[in-house]
Symmetry: C2
């Protein structure tokens, strides 16, 4: 992944750490499901087939500065510990090692300095691209990733190629774009998600679990569930329209906008299932869409603008320079204020996809 995809580090007012309560909602809603999954699907006796199990390895892929990750890791280690306790005994609870993964340019300093002092695991930093294998073969017992897998490793090349039928001129994302653009995004997603799943298949032990949560979409057409398109109001399209307004005022060049696209894709359950099944390495134990309670935290225009700024600023600065950022997000907040209905939680149609996989 490019450096620019990294969230804003530190703990300042614009940092990802201070603007990720929306994603934090994921932990709340996924908590009972993951706890139940660990209880029902983690076969302790299978994992301990060689006798005692001294070390239990967990990894969080795309953890950013860790604020939401710490909650998840606490919940996961506690649930696994209880499982060991009930199936084996307290004395057989293994030592937990948590590998915090993100790109090498992630703010690991903030992550390490924020580690909860009362944690029941040893924390390890695992820098690197999670589309490749990062841990030893068959070493990992539980893989987790939250709010990361909707990021593509790159914008699909065709979308930025003026000679391609998929060239996405005048837009910054696939929302509302031609089918060629949507298809280019969809195949980049299949490639990236496939690489992620293949890499984890190498690392996971047989019987190991993987819980993934990330924003996704619901197909608009029931007749055609393969339409990779949804009625999720696209925040990225709104940012795009602010950029177009700025182009009209001469604040940013049209060519700059034409060569920019968000490297984000919102998959939907059927599409994801096909990608998983292609690997041949997992049983799909559970796949579903969840509502995100975190959206109730973004009911005013400025909060929402800060949230998307924390997520996208690096990417936008990298392409447009830092001069336009304040104006862009001011315009964005004004656009939201002008249509308050958009801000109402009932109108936030975003969904999260939750998947639980078991390594065969």
């Amino acid at each position: 992944m490019a450096q620019s995809y990294v969230m804003i580090g530190g703990e300042g007012p614009l940092s990802y750490a201070k603007n990720s309560s929306y994603q934090g909602g994921v932990v709340d809603v996924a908590k009972p499901i993951i706890e139940e999954a660990i209880k029902q699907k983690l076969d302790i006796n299978e994992l301990c087939s060689n006798g005692l199990m001294n070390n239990f390895w967990i990894a969080d892929f795309g953890c950013s500065t860790g604020h939401n990750s710490f909650l998840a890791m606490q919940m996961i280690t506690r649930a696994i510990g209880e499982n060991f306790q009930s199936i084996r005994s307290v004395s057989q609870i293994p030592d937990f090692y948590v590998f915090f993964n993100d790109q090498v340019t992630n703010d690991f300093n903030t992550l390490f300095r924020s580690l909860p002092p009362e944690r029941h695991y040893r924390a390890i930093g695992l820098p690197g691209d999670y589309h490749r294998c990062l841990l030893p073969k068959a070493s990992l017992h539980f893989a987790y990733s939250s709010w990361a897998l909707h990021w593509l490793s790159q914008v699909p090349k065709a979308v930025e190629d003026p000679n391609s039928p998929a060239w996405n001129k005048g837009r910054v994302h696939y929302s509302g774009a031609r089918q060629e653009v949507v298809d280019a995004y969809s195949s980049q997603y299949a490639k990236d998600m496939g690489a992620f799943l293949e890499a984890r298949a190498q690392e996971l032990v047989s019987g190991g679990l993987m819980a993934l949560v990330f924003p996704g979409a619901i197909p608009t057409s029931v007749e055609n569930p393969n339409t990779s398109y949804s009625d999720v109001p696209s925040e990225t399209a709104l940012i795009g329209s602010c950029l177009m307004d700025m182009a009209k005022k001469g604040r940013v060049s049209q060519a700059k906008i034409d060569s920019f696209n968000f490297p984000i894709y919102f998959t939907f359950p059927e599409e994801l299932k096909a990608v998983i099944e292609r690997t041949g390495s997992y049983n799909i134990e559970r796949i579903e869409t969840l509502d995100n309670p975190g959206k109730h935290t973004l009911t005013n225009a400025n909060a929402r603008a800060s949230f998307y700024r924390a997520a996208f600023e690096g990417l936008l600065i990298d392409h447009f320079g830092c001069e336009i950022i304040d104006e862009l997000f001011d315009r964005y907040a004004h656009k939201l204020e002008a249509s308050p209905a958009v801000l109402h939680p009932d109108n936030d149609k975003s969904v999260m996809i939750f998947v639980l996989l078991k390594r065969i």
Copy 2:
């Protein structure tokens, strides 16, 4: 360890990264010895006693921002790879995993961003106090530490206690101090080094090697090799004398100086041997003192002042505040300039201690 012991991060002109060529000399001088040690003492067949070895774990304890560590890790992985190649075969060279350890407050961001792209290992960050166990039991094959183990986990308590006979009033280190002060430092060292060795004994596999390099001392008296004191010109004493000059001018309070001491100890081979033997976990394969070629890099007053500033600034700011730092190191540089003989490499009597241990 306290936060203040961490070296200056980043890559600015005052950073540790830009001011650690002195320590870098350690890699140069230790290189042939470590290469030879790996060839002669790393018993590949013993390590592979359970069949094939897929993963080879190396850890660098106290790696700071990694600039000298990368050279060492490259050298170590290459030497081990050659060893595997000659004793088994190319196809049996395992995957190398290097765990970069330092305190949680270390600048891991700079470390990760500076990782050499052409490395033949996967890099992992291992934040935490190396006086405790950080890795799974019997998981580590090669432990390394350079220029870190002369740092104590804390200033010996008695040295800062006005009611103790070891109170070190009017000095900032044990150089030239009363025997009680020296003894307090020595027993703190034995405790810290003992804890480090015990933790590594847990982590190392049987037959695993540990190579340690750090600044030490040569006992002044041949008749009494237990004298923990040497003729190494003490840089810390020179900083102390600058602080005393500043106290006379009212720039810093005498009480502040009385309550400050450097948490550093320069052991000597006989003392170190005794600490190692007390653990009962290692064979001492090699122990010797080496000359440091890095000292040729510090032959002008400003270079030397920058070097010690990078190493000690955090610690000094924590106690004295940041206002005095510029003046302190200006004075330090002037004192050095006034006695140019001190700067001549031939007058740098510092030694490094090199130890090679094998886990029984």
